[in-house]
Amino acid sequence: MKLPDTQVALLEAASATDAKTVAQLAEQLGADPAAVTRAAFELEDAGLLAVDEDVAESDALTAEGERYLEDGLPERRLYEAALEAGADGAPVEMGRVIGEAGLDGEAVDIALSNFARKGLGEIDTGELVADPVAAETDPEAEALAAVADGSGGTQDPGVLDRLEARGLLERRETTVRSVTLSDDGVTALMQGVEAAETVGAVTPDLLSSGEWRDVEFAEYDVAADAETIAGGKEHILRQTANRVKDVLVGMGFREMAGPHADADFWINDCLFMPQDHPARTHWDRFALDVPPMAPEDLPDLADRVAEAHRHGVGEHGDGYHSPWDEAFARAVALRGHTTSLSMRYLSGHRAHGPDARSRNPRSEDLAGDLEPPQRYFSVEKVYRNDTLDPTHLLEFFQIEGWVMAEDLSVRDLMGTFTEFYDAFGITDLEFKPHYNPYTEPSFELFGEHPETGESIEIGNSGIFREEVLRPLGVDCDVMAWGLALERLLMLIYGFEDVRDVHGTLCDLELLRDVEVVA
């Protein structure tokens, strides 16, 4: 029979008649008691050994107890110093005795209280008298020494209790295991037991020599926790954005890109937002302190946009009764929505956005007019000048999508969005008629929260007005919708404070521990 080293040694050291404790065996074998215990259980499982368990009480000194064993109990030191100073005759000033005893800190209080308790002398108004006939031996000091050499059991239990109360002694219950050989164990020994070789690691030598065939690998504690590593992970909001992109690309949508800082013309005027609309006032808009776009950089269609604002579009169209100023249209701001990209694409003026490596920065990538049908999307950042709170950020991701085709209906819009939201487990969409300056009809989308079941707003949509499309040169229908990506994320994950995730206040632990999107 081949057994691991420790088991072989243990088997050989054990007796069939005389139970031996694990501690004794470990000492005898010069092995780690834990390894011996493990080996004993393994041999018991194999039926070669019997393991008995007894609960034994054992005493051990605490660190403080060990110190007093070495230096003497503080009260004894005080007493001896007092005798030395002649305090057995006349009272001696206490401070002096303490100093001579070498006591300081806590030890002073300990010394004084035990001094009095043990009747070693008297203390009165700062002076100390030692009792010369006090016992020369101290049961507590003796008990301390006895515990230290393992014979604590011979001491007076009352004294031991006192030591424990003083925090010098710790009493523990320990399980003492002892082993005896079983009949099978005896038989196995008689038939001969050999040690099997165990190795720690697979090495090139082991492999090339073929020795691996004859070795046994040392066992690991495979159930124990391993070292914690964070690993790299794509940001949770990026994962969500990419999932949205996957869904949209699968539905036939092409991605848009374009500038974050843009002329108000593309951000608002093209969208038929009157210039005196409250959303275009300074407190909602992220105006930038840069010069306005040059008049020659405003596209030709600006005249048509201005005309739509002033007089409407079509025979029966009316404009806004609001001023329209080209200078305002040229002012540069951070976009409040990515609909500015939709306007650029629909008009065939897609500008170079981030990453464009143009040698001629003023040249615009004129894509030309788009012919229906088209589907486009973007999942990009937009900016709102607002206070930061758990659900509102100054910048967030907007999912923007649109479909261009002949004769689109409200039903097509509903069908498209039903399909999109279904991919995220949001069903039973409700379409609440709404108003946007740039779409008609317009709908707020409401959906059921997958967890809570409540009805929540999940987007805004509509069919672009002719006042938006005709100046851009688009003659067919375009339906569009927008949604905050963070809203979708919070819906899917149930986050309550979006700032934990997005921005420099983010919590790394949360990002490391969050589940990946699948």
Partner: protein, 622 residues
């Protein structure tokens, strides 16, 4: 979005539905797109809605919409108006900045406290919306009996709109006891702070006079003499502003509300030097809407009479014409002989979805009823008459929307548009993802920081001067009116954001290896927007033994993954340690920086471990 407070009992009384339960009422309102937001302490509903139907800014307007919804009213309603007795004379002295005025008289009102409060709320809400905080239009409501006509004869009853010098006259304003000049009101009366800026730069202030003298100082405050009380029976309503159409529409909405309260609207003539206007202008406008457009927008087939019925239920009147051509841009013109009146059936009908050119247009509307018209609706056009309180109808499509709402958009069956397109991502976005994958594969935690930050975060705290010749040192686009001092500029580089994340996470386990690919920008007058933008790749390694070597090893791995040639000649950068910093040169172009962060920067961010990092533009990897 406007919020209006409405007493539900008032609403029940005005709609003639006294037994409507609270729940039913809320559901009815939701149907109009009006959301119940809560209740005031007095039990009034707080109702929120989109700012298109400004005729619903009062309980009277909401009640009118509900009556249409209940079918108790149909078609266009125009209040009766008696002939003008009073005239507003506009003098040449009126300031150019506020040239327009309009007005009306409403008699025989029996205003209680509730009615008066409703009128005041309507006035405030119109100021906040159409009136653009009184800049574009301001309303003054006066007790008519307190006015003494300024005419020479008994028949000539007029009041005068003129401009006065700021100190030239006095009156006692509302909520005050003292005689004040207009300038004195701006300086001493509480309203001066709120509305003073609207007239501050005007040479002559707008003022309205009767025979007694100045009684209104628009758009700031009325005089106390003509103050309206619950006992007031006859009102004089005037509005001034920067646009005639806007103040006329505001006046129309007020007249409709007072008419609903039993008042008799009486016209007022507004005499400008070159023309006289008869106000209020309660004339309707007309839009031609094609049947085809309605069907294609809703995606269902409808019988002509159904459409007419839906329009009447939306408070519109419509007649049909055979062909849109030749009908022209008629507005308010009576229908000509070619217009045939369609007889309406008592029960509104809808047709089944039988459009022959759309066989796959989804299941037929389950609620479709019998009675479909078999008439050929090709070329059918409706002449739709729109009441004057509808300030939101600009285009025939707005009428289509009304028809859709009356039909019930939620009754439409969704269908996926049968249109084939090819999807795809931009090259830039695919490159960004590939680079992010590479960084994550190297063990970096991918981060997402704000593009907005502050100049101290970008420069001072990084030990960098904005005009240094170094990566990150560029002129950032500055936000004109920032909300918070932490977010005042668009970042010029991304590394400071990562260092801030390290700063905020010193209590979390190390190593902290962070990376981000995100927008950076700078002012650049060679760009049309005067801002240059690009995506930047930034990474930091924070750990007890982080070194230049660690950063460069990862930078090399990224460059190799993209087949880009990397070299790193030495350079000094104020944010990094001299002698442990290099230029990132990708394919021969110096684009970024790599190195160990200067201890000055670490200490500034309360970091107690070394940090190595790099930053370069994403398009360096192309």
């Amino acid at each position: 979005m406007p919020v209006v407070e409405v007493d539900p009992d008032e609403l029940r009384r005005l709609t003639g539905e006294p037994d409507r339960s609270e729940a039913e009422l809320k559901a009815d309102l939701f149907g109009l797109g009006i959301e119940y937001e809560g209740e005031t302490d007095d039990g009034a509903f707080e109702l929120e809605f989109a700012p298109d139907r400004l005729d619903r800014l009062s309980v009277e307007g909401i009640a009118r919409s509900l009556r249409y919804q209940y079918g108790e009213d149909r078609g266009v309603y125009i209040p009766d108006t008696t002939d003008a007795d009073w005239t507003i004379e506009v003098e040449d002295s009126v300031p150019d900045e506020r040239p327009y005025v309009t007005g009306a008289i409403v008699r025989g009102l029996d205003l209680g406290k509730a009615e008066l409060e409703s009128l005041i709320q309507l006035q405030e809400k119109l100021h906040a919306t159409m009136g653009r905080q009184r800049a574009k239009g301001a309303i003054g409501v006066h007790d008519l009996t307190m006015l003494k006509p300024a005419g020479d004869t008994a028949d000539d009853k007029h009041i005068i709109y003129r401009g006065v010098e700021p100190e030239a006259d006095t009156f006692v304003p509302l909520d005050d006891d003292a005689e004040r000049t207009p300038a004195g009101v701006l300086a001493e009366h509480p309203v001066g702070d709120t509305y003073g800026h609207l007239v501050a730069d005007i040479e002559r202030y707008p003022a309205i006079y009767d025979a007694v003298g100045l009684f209104s100082f628009p758009p700031v405050i009325n005089g106390r003499r003509t103050e309206v009380e619950a006992s007031t029976r006859d009102l004089f309503v005037e509005m001034t502003g920067t646009d005639q159409w806007t103040i006329d529409r505001m006046l129309t909405i007020v007249c409709y509300a007072l008419d609903a309260r039993g008042g008799q609207v009486e016209a007022v003539d507004v005499e400008y030097g070159d023309r006289t206007l008869h106000r209020p202008d309660l004339s309707t406008t007309t839009k031609a809407v094609s049947h085809e457009r309605i069907e294609s927008t809703l995606g269902v087939d409808l019988a002509g009479e159904t459409v007419l019925d839906l329009m009447e239920r939306a408070g519109l009147d419509a007649t049909t014409g055979g062909d849109a051509a030749g009908r022209g841009a008629a507005s308010g013109a009576p229908a000509d002989d070619a217009v045939e009146d369609v007889e309406l059936e008592d029960v509104p009908t809808r047709t089944a979805d039988t459009r022959s050119d759309a066989p796959d247009s989804g299941p037929a509307d389950g609620s479709a009823a019998a009675g479909a018209s078999t008439a050929d609706e090709t070329g059918l056009t409706y002449e739709v008459e729109i009441p004057p309180y509808r300030v939101d109808v600009r285009h025939p499509m707005d009428v289509v929307d009304d028809v859709g709402r009356a039909y019930g958009f939620n009754d439409l069956e969704p269908r996926y548009p049968d249109v084939a397109t090819v999807g795809g991502r931009t090259r830039a976005s695919r490159l960004e993802d590939a680079a992010r994958d590479a960084l994550v594969g190297l063990g970096f935690e991918d981060l997402l920081n704000f593009h907005l930050t502050s100049e101290p975060a970008l420069f001072d705290r990084m030990g960098l001067s904005p005009d240094a010749d170094a990566v990150g040192a560029r002129e950032p686009p500055v936000i004109t009116e920032p909300y918070s001092e932490d977010y005042t500029v668009v970042r010029t580089w991304a590394l400071p954001s990562l260092v801030q994340v390290l700063e905020n996470n010193t209590h979390r386990a190390y190593p902290q290896d962070l990376a981000e690919i995100g927008l950076v920008a700078a002012e650049d007058h060679d760009r049309p927007t005067n801002v240059v933008e690009h995506r930047s790749v930034a990474a930091v390694l924070a750990r007890a033994d982080a070194s230049y070597e660690d950063a460069k090893a990862r930078l090399q791995a990224v460059a190799r993954a993209f087949g880009t040639e990397l070299s790193t000649p030495p350079i000094d950068h104020p944010s990094f340690i001299d002698g442990r910093t290099a230029v990132v040169v990708l394919d021969g172009e110096a684009v970024g920086v790599v190195g160990e962060l200067n201890p000055r920067v670490l200490v500034e961010h309360d970091l107690e471990v070394p940090v190595a990092g790099f930053e370069f533009p994403l398009d360096g990897l192309r």
